[in-house]
């Protein structure tokens, strides 16, 4: 077992644009690291560089203190679970799991002992003689994991292993993977585009955009202290609300009214004209269900609720608003970066299940101003970030840098995603 150090890793393809751009991430021994980002962010490429399936253009890849840039995959002693599992259809489950051991020339008795051990851990005993084609998605997934754990690899690598499973199974396998990793205590790097997996599985999470590392921190740090608009928008479901805001002293002017924010936050946002305020849905509430002590005029506003989705324990209320063009543009770009489609600017408010607000009501809504973030619309940086609790944030306007790469690339190759078609 070993730690993995990535130092200024760069990957450039033939077109000259960096798919991975100067990424440095330190994975400690036994740590569970998540690489997360929308499609095309370079997370899979980075993983494939760790395992050796992809050449490293520049930088150092150090595994267990040894530079492995020039080693073939088989010399790196890592094990990997592929997105489609990559089970060998012509081999039985037993032989699939045994495959790496056979290649290593282990004796039959050792192979048997290890395969049985792995199959017991993963509850595959009754399937050992079947072929992968006859297994369900979840079983295939477990076989792929069996093949990974059967040998004493330096680290586990997972490439979106749950994306081919249905929602329920995905939840179960997620817990299973977490449990297995805790038990084996092995260094793990896990690629996903699903922020739920990122939040629940990882000791730490590295968020990538267009090949540039945005923030590398624990899930809690990412959630509470996102480094920029991109991270803020990516982490959390439903996502953070972004509203145009003007700061005047310690009061913030939002489309629905003006609220007061703590002085230390206001301090960091002085001297800027138009800002973007970020408030998570759960940091709003129906003023009538909040402890009356906390409700003041300076922390509430009224708005006309458009649609209410009542889920029993909670409800989501939607409030449309108009945003000025410069904010609108930034938000649309952000939406695209997050693989979404921008339909309209609206506020999503999470209400307590006890709330009686109904569609069409003019509601009084309370906002938890302590949790509000203020972003610079030009760079996307979070002006109110608490740097001490935000993990590692690479300097130098990472979000803007990623956007620049993206624009250049899209400019050269119209359509972007079909660049190589």
């Amino acid at each position: 077992m070993a730690g993995i150090e990535m130092k200024n890793i760069v990957k450039k393809y033939g077109d000259g644009f960096p798919a991975v751009n100067d990424v440095s991430i330190d994975v400690e021994e036994g740590e569970f690291l998540i690489l997360v980002g929308p499609s095309g962010c370079g997370k899979s490429t980075l993983l494939r560089m760790i395992v050796g399936l992809e050449d490293i253009t520049d930088g150092d890849m150090i595994i267990g203190g040894k530079r492995v840039n020039d080693l073939a995959p088989r010399e790196r002693n890592l094990s990997m679970v592929f997105q489609n599992y990559a089970l060998y259809p012509h081999l039985t489950v037993y032989e699939n799991i045994a495959f790496p051991l056979r290649l290593a020339g282990k004796s039959d008795s050792e192979v048997d002992q290890k395969v049985r051990e792995a199959s017991k851990t993963l509850e595959l005993d009754e399937h050992l003689e079947r072929k992968p084609g006859n297994l369900s998605g979840g079983q295939r997934q477990r076989v792929a994991m069996g093949r990974a754990i059967v040998r004493d690899a330096e680290a586990f690598l997972f490439d979106e292993p749950l994306s081919n499973l249905d929602a329920k199974l995905r939840g179960q396998m997620r817990t299973e993977i977490a449990r297995l990793q805790k038990r084996l205590g092995i260094t793990t790097v896990y690629v996903t585009h699903d922020q739920t997996e990122a939040m629940t599985l990882g000791d730490r999470v590295a968020v990538l955009k267009r090949g540039v590392l945005q923030q590398h921190a624990t899930p809690r740090e990412l959630y509470e202290n996102p480094a920029n608009l991109f991270v803020a928008g990516f982490i959390g479901s439903p996502p953070m609300n972004f509203l145009p805001a003007k700061v005047n002293g310690d009061s913030v002017e939002l489309p629905f009214g003006t609220v007061k924010i703590p002085a230390d936050k206001a301090q960091k946002a002085q001297g800027k004209d138009l800002l973007i305020a970020g408030i998570r849905p759960e940091h709003f509430e129906d003023a009538s269900v909040v402890d009356p002590d906390r409700v003041t005029d300076e922390s509430t506003f009224t708005a006309k609720v458009d649609v209410v989705e009542w889920l029993g324990n909670e409800a989501y209320a939607y409030v449309p608003f108009e945003a000025p063009p410069e904010v609108q543009q930034q938000l649309q770009q952000l939406e695209r970066d997050l693989d979404g489609e921008s339909l309209r600017t609206q506020l999503v408010v999470s209400l307590d299940g006890a709330s009686r607000i109904r569609e069409g009501d003019e509601a009084t809504i309370w906002v938890d101003v302590r949790k509000m973030h203020l972003f610079d619309p030009a760079t996307g940086d979070n002006l109110t970030m608490d740097a001490a609790n935000a993990g590692i944030v690479p300097g130098g306007n990472t979000m803007a840098r990623a956007e620049q790469v993206g624009q250049q690339q899209d400019g050269v190759q119209p359509g972007g995603s079909q660049a190589t078609a």
Binding site: Y85, A419, T420
Partner: protein, 316 residues
């Protein structure tokens, strides 16, 4: 097979890896790739490009194997001889005629067969096995079988066809002889056509057909507006391959009429000049013309029907 949906992200990563800059690995890959295809390229060129060049060279000589020492340079006069000879044009016309008729009939019958094979639930194996027999059988054997079948001495066709006299000699005149040749050709190659079309049919999704049904399309409308447009590329590839194949018709003519009654094809004419009469000079000129006409036909089919060759080369 395991599940093979790949997220767009991933596909892109992998595809882009193909285009990697000249790293050591991609250089090695390049070398390995070229080494692996080298034997195939060598062989294919040895038997085509090299003889073709030689044919071009020989075609400007008056050269006969019966008098090899009299070889003399004659420039383009072999071509001139061929192109001004009515025989050349007759055989070419014959060949084109055979090509158009056989491919058209094969397309219709082949499509009907494909529809049946696509829907049939019982005896699938038996039908597929049977359909492979004409495909696998030697063309010469097919030629014999049909020649004897049409024979007025020993055949059964005259007896079975109500409006034909029992002693009618099919090989006695141009029209009927051509018909016999085409029957043999169509019999042997329709199965191939139907298999290609079957593969195309399988790619038309059932959902789409059901949607069309719900939308109120009749069987005929579903055929013309849903099925055929969706298997366009399969049809075009099949037509291209079969047309070029039909243009090379030789075996059936050789066996069934030996070119009598004006049933010669361009391939047969070329063969006769080269192999039977040892006229390598004029024969080579005919070879070159034959090759050029195949290129022309391929070009016309690709242009007229806008065949997607990329699909044919699986570069999609």
């Amino acid at each position: 097979m395991t599940h093979t949906t790949v997220a767009p992200d991933d596909k892109r990563d992998v595809r882009r890896a193909d285009k990697a800059a000249a790293s050591d690995r991609s250089k090695a890959e390049n070398r390995l790739g070229m080494r692996l295809v080298a034997p195939a390229i060598f062989l294919m060129l040895l038997v085509t490009a090299f003889p073709m060049l030689r044919a071009i060279y020989l075609s400007v000589f008056n050269y006969s194997l019966t008098a090899p020492d009299d070889r003399e340079f004659v420039g383009l006069s072999n071509y001139l001889t061929a192109l001004t000879d009515s025989l050349f044009w007759e055989t070419t016309l014959n060949t084109v005629f055979i090509m158009v008729v056989t491919v058209a009939i094969e397309l219709v019958i082949g499509f009907a067969f494909a529809m049946v094979m696509h829907r049939v639930i019982f005896a699938r194996g038996v039908i597929r096995t049977s359909i492979l027999i004409p495909y696998g059988i030697i063309t010469v054997v097919s030629g014999f079988a049909w020649q004897f079948a049409f024979s007025n001495n020993n055949g059964f066709v005259n007896a079975w066809l109500p409006f034909v006299e029992d002693n009618f000699n099919w090989f006695g005149e141009y029209g009927s002889a051509m018909a016999a040749i085409m029957v043999s050709e169509i019999w042997k190659t329709t199965p191939f056509m139907s298999l290609l079309l079957l593969a195309g049919l399988a790619q038309v999704s059932e959902d789409m057909l059901e949607a069309a049904k719900v939308d109120g399309a009749t069987w005929w409308q579903r055929l013309w507006k849903v099925i055929l447009p969706n298997m366009r590329s399969a049809i075009m590839v099949a037509v291209l391959f079969r047309a070029l194949d039909a243009y090379r018709i030789f075996d059936n003519i050789f066996v069934m009429t030996a070119g009598a009654q004006g049933t010669e094809s361009i391939s047969f004419l070329t063969y006769r000049q080269v192999i039977e009469q040892f006229q390598l000079g004029i024969g080579s000129a005919l070879s070159v013309l034959l090759f050029l006409s195949v290129l022309l036909i391929a070009f016309l089919i690709v242009k007229i029907f806008r065949v997607d060759l990329a699909a044919a080369r699986q570069e999609g």
